[in-house]
């Protein structure tokens, strides 16, 4: 299907594209010009497609010797001033954790795709799962901030890949794009939206007198300016805890100041970072919270139940981390019970419980490599609506 090798024209007609191919197209549209990766099912189509697309736009594609080298190359490319991407699945994502922590700590913008397959370890390569929800947030050691986006359709993979680069560049951070094998290898009819060629986010570049430049000094927005390679600004980058100068420090005041800024740098930008879908939540008796293919199943369950007069609602975090808590609280206002269907042994459920405090939160777990069906969700949610009826 060679048509997919062509970049979509704005407002292009209906076309058939797979999730992973949409990711590759979104990356190029967002301005990504460097990919380093190591093939792994079910993410390999991203690399395969970018190996053809990137040379067409003057970009660089490298198949590395392993996953650790891939994320290291991506960090290097980004420090060299280029928007960079790597893509992998569970086992490879585990290998990348040390360097993801480095990118978060050294504040190097980059995008990492994790297509979830069954785990633990090498698990089930061709079967879907949603069991990396917590790992994407807490996978590397130490305290660090993280942005994770969780698209649920082929079209959304395209738009969220673009947004992942925009957020990474704007907030100098690694961003993880997290979706399951079903969505990754699903081919859907898509109309690509016009994302606007010139409006893409650029990172804040250093300007002003060279002597005064400090690579980690930030103004009130909390985001330090990066220096362009060869721009004449002195830069030191390290994984060690550093002061504004970029050099290591263990001085408690300097650590508290700099680490404190790092850990809170997304807070004042939540209006831009948070994203979610709230479907029929206004009068819902039972609220379903789900991502990816489980959310698609819930959408169908919702329609079935509503047709029978059972009031279900769906809250789907598109930005998974930081979790859009204010929006979830608002969506859960009328709900007597909350149902969290997820393809793991209980992860999203924990965050929903934390945010909704006193609400009754019920979970549906499945980890046999099969997706949770709309019928299962509808039956459980309708039973909950009856049990909790006043």
């Amino acid at each position: 299907m060679n048509a997919v090798d062509k970049l979509p024209a704005p407002g292009a007609a209906l076309r058939l594209v797979s999730g992973n191919h949409a990711c590759a197209l979104g990356a190029v549209a967002a301005g990504c010009r460097f990919f380093a990766g190591y093939p792994i099912t079910p993410s390999s189509e991203i690399a395969e497609r970018l190996s053809r697309l990137l040379p067409q736009v003057g970009g660089v594609f490298v198949q590395m010797e392993d996953e650790i080298a891939s994320i290291a190359a991506v960090i290097g490319a980004s420090m060299g001033g280029v928007k960079a991407l790597t893509a992998t699945s569970g086992p490879g994502f585990s290998l990348k954790q040390e360097n993801i922590g480095y990118a978060a700590g050294a504040e190097v913008p980059c995008v990492i795709v994790n297509v979830m397959r069954g785990g633990p370890s090498t698990g089930m390569p061709t079967r879907p799962s949603q069991s990396d929800i917590m790992q994407t947030r807490w996978g590397s050691h130490g305290d660090y901030p993280m942005i994770v986006l969780a698209p649920a359709s082929v079209r959304e993979i395209y738009t969220e890949t673009v947004r992942a680069f925009d957020l990474a560049e704007t907030f100098r951070t690694p961003v993880v794009l997290l979706y399951d094998q079903v969505i990754a290898q699903l081919t859907e009819t898509v109309e690509f939206p016009d994302i606007g060629d010139d409006a893409r986010a650029e990172r804040k570049w250093a300007s002003g007198p060279r002597e005064a430049y400090q690579p980690y000094a930030a103004n009130e927005d909390g985001i330090p300016a990066m220096s362009r390679p060869g721009g004449g600004y002195r830069v030191h980058t390290t994984g060690l805890t550093h002061s504004e100068s970029g050099f290591p420090t263990q001085n408690p005041e300097a650590v508290a100041r700099n680490l404190g800024r790092l850990l809170t740098k997304f807070e004042r930008h939540r209006d831009v970072i948070d994203s979610w879908q709230a479907l029929d939540c206004d009068d819902a008796d039972v609220l379903i919270v789900a991502i990816g293919i489980s959310a698609r199943a819930a959408t169908r369950a919702l329609a079935t139940a509503r047709a029978k007069g059972v009031r279900l609602g769906l809250f789907r975090p598109v930005t998974l981390w930081p979790f859009p808590e204010t929006a979830l609280r608002a969506a859960a206002k009328t709900a007597r019970a909350v149902l969290v269907p997820e393809m793991n042994a209980g992860q999203l459920e924990l965050e929903v419980q934390r945010i909704l405090g006193g609400k009754r939160v019920y979970a549906m777990h499945r980890y046999d490599g099969e997706p949770i069906t709309p019928a299962d969700i509808a039956a459980r949610a309708q039973a909950l609506a009856q049990e909790t009826a006043i």
């Binding site: 299907m1 209906l14 058939l16 061709t126 290898q185 698609r296 959408t299 169908r300 079935t304 019928a375």
Partner: protein, 187 residues
């Protein structure tokens, strides 16, 4: 729900071209403006092992993209029978290859045993069984315009397989027409 949702599965083993076959049909439907979601189940082995390719076709955006109640099932290997049979909707269309699926369970469905792989072998290569099946499926289900499908198969075929694929598609249609006539289905 009255959203004209149609679900099709092509089941068999890895290497039979099931995904390619479903993608060709999806392409033809997409060109006609239909909304399509095409998914697959496969095993890590690249040849052999259970494999299926599913299509969900809708007039509006597909909410849940995976198969839940099949309207049409094409069986190219016995391995696909057990995982697919419970998903059949009442009165659904089943097209099974006579050679590869000799035994089928009872069911409330319209079963047609067609010599798909035998015809492919006679045409010159068992590898075009998927295209014979595609022709038979489209003739019997009337899901897609023949011209649109021919156009896609022509566009997607490598040069060395072009004539063979077009012959295979025509043979599939012929088998379908024959089966309909034998069952006295309305044309």
């Amino acid at each position: 729900m009255r959203d004209a949702r149609v679900e099709i599965r092509i089941g068999g083993t890895g290497g039979q071209g099931l995904i390619l076959c479903a993608k060709m049909l999806a392409d033809a439907l997409c060109a006609a403006g239909r909304r399509v979601a095409q998914s697959q189940t496969y095993e890590p082995t690249s040849r052999g092992g259970y494999c299926n390719s599913d299509l969900v076709i809708c007039d509006r955006e597909v909410d849940y993209p995976l198969a839940t109640a099949l309207d049409c099932l094409v069986l190219l290997d016995r391995m696909a029978v057990n995982p697919s049979w419970p998903l059949l909707r009442c009165g659904s269309l089943v097209i099974a290859d006579t050679r590869m699926c000799p035994d089928l369970p009872e069911g409330d469905c319209r079963v047609y045993r067609l010599p798909l792989s035998r015809s492919a072998i006679e045409l010159g290569s068992e590898r075009v069984t998927n295209i014979v099946a595609l022709g038979a499926l489209c003739e019997m289900s009337e899901i897609c315009e023949r011209k649109a499908l021919e156009q896609v198969v022509r566009a997607e075929s490598p040069k060395s397989f072009l004539d063979l694929n077009m012959d295979a598609l025509a043979e599939g249609y012929r088998l379908g027409i024959q089966a309909r006539a034998a069952a006295k289905l309305p044309a």
